[in-house]
Assembly symmetry: C2
């Protein structure tokens, strides 16, 4: 079963992610690409995506770098934060 | 600039997608994987993802099959529907 996440710790971890995931209009200036909205996303998908980035199965360079530093517990914490009260704006 | 989408047509197109994207708890029974929540997702990301599936750059088999049948306009329509009033449940 998925690891229970600690949303408070997830919020701390997510601070780093705001640079892209919390921008207005969800379109990053440089490099110019559409950023997915993760607030309210369902937790198993967030964990699945982060693990895929960590394993190099999903190939966004910034995301791979971010995910490389996250433990399974960190990922569960971030997922819990985003699912429950992810206010990205 | 992105093609303006027709949300009404997008809603019709999205009916096919409910089988996975609207299930309770967002975890598909078979094959067992976490389904991303797309209601409320930002439109450019939806179009970007669908185009990546259509081009085979993102490799989920079911999604590639679905995206193969969608035109750019269809994708914009679905994105408009999901961004604005995507009630998947």
């Amino acid at each position: 079963a998925p690891i229970p996440g600690n949303a408070d710790h997830g919020q701390v971890l997510f601070e780093t992610c705001r640079g892209c995931h919390a921008i207005d209009g969800y379109r990053n200036a440089y490099p110019n690409y559409p950023v997915p909205r993760v607030a309210g996303q369902q937790p198993d998908y967030i964990v699945d995506a982060l693990k895929a980035y960590r394993a190099g199965k999903r190939n966004h360079p910034t995301m791979q770098a971010q995910a490389a530093s996250l433990s399974d517990q960190d990922m569960a914490d971030i997922a819990a934060y985003l699912a429950g009260h992810g206010h990205t704006q």
